[in-house]
Structures are given as structure tokens and as C-alpha cells.
Symmetry: C2
Subunit: 107 residues, 2 copies
């Protein structure tokens, strides 16, 4: 009943971790210390979250001296998408979302 993407889904379940992904989506290559300052949490909590994201493959890291740089990896996100949206449905869905966005912009 468990699958290979299990770690990815579990990683995405927490709002703090999604916020970390947002930060890395906005700007890649940040250190852990740099990311800590953005969360209302001790560095231990942030470190734990980054570890979960890294083990899920959503974040990849590179060591540079005593620093650890973090990068967003979008591949697992796309795999989630492809699991429940086939190439045919994709067009309808994106059209729907664009429509929704348009409607919300002009009230």
C-alpha cells in the first residue's frame, strides 16, 4: 500500500516544509542558517525539516566548507502531477485554472 513517492508526499504535508520550498523556489542555494532566520522556530526544527525534504529528494544539497547549500528539485513535484493527470486531461485542467484565475481578477 506504500509507494516510492511516499517520502515526497509526507514531506509536503507540513506547512513549514512547504514554506521552505517556497523560499528556495524564490532563491536557490541558501545555507541552513540563512533559512532558519525565515522561520519562527529554533534551528533544530528547521534542520529536521530540511532533512525530511532532502531525504524525499525535493531538496538537493552541496557542501561548501562548513556551509551546506540547498537547492529545490522540481522533479518529484512533476511526478505527482503525472500520477493523476494524464496528457489529455491536462489541457482541460489548465484551461479551468486559467479561467478561474481570470474570473477572480475581475470581480
Amino acid at each position: 500500500m506504500t509507494d516510492e513517492l511516499d517520502l515526497v508526499f509526507r514531506a509536503l504535508a507540513d506547512p513549514s516544509r512547504r514554506f521552505l520550498l517556497d523560499l528556495l523556489f524564490a532563491r536557490d542555494g541558501r545555507t541552513q542558517t540563512e533559512l532558519e532566520s525565515e522561520l519562527a522556530m529554533t534551528r533544530f526544527g528547521v534542520a529536521k525539516h530540511l532533512k525530511v525534504l532532502e531525504e524525499a529528494g525535493l531538496v538537493v544539497t552541496r557542501r561548501s566548507g562548513r556551509e551546506k547549500l540547498h537547492f529545490l528539485n522540481p522533479v518529484p513535484i512533476r511526478q505527482i502531477h503525472d500520477r493523476w493527470i494524464d496528457k489529455y486531461t491536462e489541457q482541460h485542467v489548465t484551461a479551468l485554472i486559467d479561467l478561474k484565475r481570470t474570473l477572480e481578477e475581475e470581480p
Copy 2:
């Protein structure tokens, strides 16, 4: 720190719920009883999972007499995708995944 897609991410975190989505992806419009038979769990557990999926908007339902029909809604999945993959990156990522798939097919 919490966002509107919170329910969607939390719903996707559980393997049983993802399996239910797989079932509905394969064939829509099933009743709860029909779905129960596919899970190694009492009907109460399945009902709870379906409720979580419905509240997240991943599943929409329609009543028909005493039956409740379930349908997969792909829109939230696409929204997850769009959050961390911009139109430009999308091309690279899909190309990467296609490449990976090709390589795994021919060993």
C-alpha cells in the same frame, strides 16, 4: 504559515488516500461500498479517508438515492504543480522525466 492548499497536502500524505485516488483515476463514479472492498480496512476507515479527500476538494461527490458517488477532481493537483514549477522550468523537468523513463525501459 498555513495556506489554502493545506487540506490538499495533508490529504495526499496518506498512502490509503492516494490509493483511493488511484482507484478513482482508473474509474470514476464509484460508491463508498465499492471502494471499501479494495482496501484492507473497515468501512469506517475508508469513510474517514473519503471525507478527508472530499474536504480537500480532491474528490467531489454526488448523491443518488442512498448511494454516494465519488469523482476525482484533478484541479488541486495541478495547483500543487504550478506552485513550484514555472512555465519555463516545466519544459526541462518533463524532458528530464521522459529521459529517465527511457533509460529505465532499456537496461
